[in-house]
Each structure stands twice: as structure tokens, then as C-alpha cells.
Symmetry: C2
Subunit: 236 residues, 2 copies
């Protein structure tokens, strides 16, 4: 029997077969859970089917946690743990609660003394960092940078200077349809010798992870439009 706890369940990064990049151990655990906190019930069911989940969905509870969920209703989502039942928190992509705002159920569990069990899965941030060649002993993840042009330039300058002063890899993401704009902004803002790694379509068949100086990126033709990407900056 599975211990009562909140299980944090990673999913794939958008490929056809998430089971391929998830440990078999995860499927065994998920199989024993029939109550899930999810952002979208449809994609949650699709994921569960893809890893061979065999319970009848009529007997499964999906609590929807998205930006419309009133905060006051979230304690109810984890109340079964007190009764000795496991509850799963499913991410929409990658690992839950990283580059993702869905951490309120985790906060509540920690406050109430309920066990929280994170399962291993793909984090685009860590995969990108591993393959960048950049400093993995000191790094910062900033989420999304500002959209407004002036603010964006200021923020890029600020984190570029952290890369040099703190010897720290700087990691951030962008809404995929704005990726090309982000690349232009980086090229026009950073020093020519600063290193930029762009990690695109991680774990998919056309995965690409390239590290080049800003000077070199100026001469490369890439189209990042609508392709999920992680950007990393490091000093020369």
C-alpha cells in the first residue's frame, strides 16, 4: 500500500511517449493513486493513459488547480491525505512546481505535516544546464524576463553582469512565440564574447542544444518560433 502523501508527478516535455523518459518506478506509484490535482483534466487523462494507468476514470477524482481556482478551495484537494490516502499532483509539462506556479498544495502539506514525495522526471532547466557546458555549481533561474523592450534590455544587462561578477550561469525562458524576439534582444544587448546557450525541443527527436558566443550567434540562422526553449547566459 502506498504511504499517504502528496506525490509530485512529472510528465513529459511534449513528446509522443512520455513513458520513455520517466522512471518505471513512477508508473507503479501512479497506478495506486485515484485522486489527482491537475491543471487540465483532459491532458491529465491523456498522460495517465499513455503510461498504462488502468483505473476506470469514472472512479478517479480530478481536482482542477489553475489560475481560476479560489485559494480557499485548495485545502480540500489534499484532505484525503489525512484519511490515509495518497494524492497526486500532476504537472502540465516537466516536473511540478518548477517554472510553474502550482505549489500551494505543497505549502499546505508542509504546514500540516503531510509527507510530500517528489518523483524523478525531466526538468528542462536541468537538462539545458547539463548540456550547456556552463557552470553547474552556481546558477540562477529567473523564469520569464520582462516583455517591454526597455525593461527587457535592462534585465538582460543585469543578469549578464551577474554571470561575470558572480561566476553564475543565468537561466531563463520565454513564451515560445516570442523566442525569436528574445534572441534578437540578446544579440543586440549582450557583449560579443558573452556565451549564450539555446536549448530547444528538449527530449524530442529534433532536440537542439547549442552554445556559442553572442558574436557567433549573429551569423547563425535559427528559427525558434513556437519551439519551447531554455536560454542560458554565461561569461566567456
Amino acid at each position: 500500500m502506498l504511504k499517504p502523501a502528496l506525490y509530485l508527478i512529472p510528465v513529459g516535455l511534449g513528446g509522443g511517449n512520455p513513458g520513455e523518459i520517466l522512471p518505471g518506478h513512477n508508473s507503479k506509484i501512479i497506478q495506486e493513486i485515484d485522486e489527482f490535482i491537475v491543471e487540465n483534466a483532459r491532458s491529465a487523462r491523456r498522460f495517465l493513459k499513455s503510461i498504462g494507468y488502468s483505473k476506470n476514470f469514472d472512479d478517479v477524482t480530478f481536482h482542477i488547480l489553475d489560475k481560476h481556482t479560489p485559494e480557499g478551495s485548495i485545502p480540500e484537494f489534499i484532505s484525503s491525505i489525512k484519511l490515509g490516502k495518497p494524492v497526486g499532483l500532476l504537472s502540465e509539462a516537466g516536473v511540478p512546481c518548477v517554472a510553474d506556479p502550482g505549489n500551494i498544495p505543497v505549502i499546505l502539506c508542509q504546514e500540516k505535516g503531510f509527507k510530500v514525495v517528489p518523483l524523478v522526471g525531466p526538468s528542462s532547466i536541468i537538462l539545458a544546464l547539463m548540456a550547456s557546458g556552463f557552470n553547474g555549481q552556481n546558477f540562477s533561474f529567473h523564469g520569464y524576463l520582462p516583455v517591454e523592450k526597455g525593461d527587457l534590455k535592462r534585465k538582460i544587462k543585469e543578469i549578464e553582469s551577474l554571470a561575470y561578477k558572480q561566476n553564475q550561469t543565468q537561466i531563463f525562458i520565454e513564451t515560445p512565440f516570442r523566442n525569436n524576439k528574445m534572441l534578437s534582444a540578446l544579440i543586440s544587448t549582450c557583449s560579443a564574447q558573452t556565451k549564450l546557450c539555446i536549448a530547444t525541443n528538449l527530449t524530442l527527436n529534433d532536440e537542439s542544444i547549442l552554445t556559442k558566443s553572442i558574436h557567433e550567434w549573429k551569423t547563425v540562422k535559427v528559427d525558434l518560433n513556437k519551439k519551447p526553449s531554455v536560454f542560458l547566459i554565461y561569461k566567456n
Copy 2:
């Protein structure tokens, strides 16, 4: 046939059966590799056996990459990729190149235009962050903090202030035999309301991930001695 590339291969975090927490996909890839860059050939062989690797070790090359390896010999380790062969870079614990200095082969591959393929595996930093309840949209990993008492206190104050000013989760590690000292230093240095998460023995049977205020930690008896732990600080 596996594409010529440097494959970054995660291992377990110290448990008996790393295969449990690694994707089946990884084993399939590793099975096709017969040249590995490793820190320690003995533990590499032990890992490979544990996931069912079936090649004869007499036919397998292990390049040793540790602090005694002359930097000039590292290009040789990846030269087979140019000849169309895959090479694996094995970590000693968790994922390669994160909280780990072994990234020189990756830098060389990126410079030479060789493909680098990161495989999914357990990152203690990400697992701890997921289960802490802390901000996963903005976080910093600092590696090891200074050992000397005064320097350590100054560094703790500095990163605690980043947690508040930047709304950023602060993550760091300590040599396991100094963990209890680190906890004392945190308790005596941070504000009473600051939140501290300690994630210990991740993925093992006695995994423990607890988030409490510094005030609460003062009254809890824990022995972290020699237990691999990740420390996380966040504002109240």
C-alpha cells in the same frame, strides 16, 4: 544505431537500485555505448551492472576524469565522436555537470560542434525544490557555502536577504559530515520567521523533506550527520 554524441548519463542518489528511478530509455541508450568518461571506474562498472548493461568490460573503455586528470588529455576522451561513435559521460551521483565540476568534455563538444545529449535523471536540487513549497519560478543554487565561521555567517545573511529582496529561493549544499554545523549556523544567523527546508536522503527509503520556520527548527531534534542533504531558504 546510436547517433555520435556525448551522452550525459545520470546515476542514482545512493540507493540500492538506481534502475528504479531512471527512465528505461536511458538503459537502451547506455547499452549501445562502449566508451565512457567516469570519475571512478569501479563505481561506474557497478552502476552499469545494476541497470543490466551486458557488454564485456574488457571491451569497454573508461576514461578517468577527476581532479588529477591533466586538462590537456581531455580532448582525447571525446575524439571518438568525430569517428561516428557515441561516448557516455557518467556522473558519480545524480545528473552530470550539475553541482559537479565535470563539464570540460561538454565545453569541448560544444566548441567542436559535437552533439551533446542530456538524459533524464534525479537532480537532488530539483527534487528538493519541488517538495519545499518554495518559489520554483525564481531560484538560485550556490553549491557549497564558505566553511570558515565568519565567512559562512556573512554568506548566509547575504543569501537570506536575496530571498526577501528578489523573492528568490536560495539553495545550497554542505559536505554531509558538516550538516549539523550548517543547521546550527542557519538557526543562529537567520531571522526567526525565515523559512528553511531540509531535504535529506532523497529517493532513499528514509527520504525526509521538511519545511519549517527557523523559529520552529529551533525546537526540532534532527541529526543530519553524514546524510546527504539539500538546504533551501525562502522568505516568510
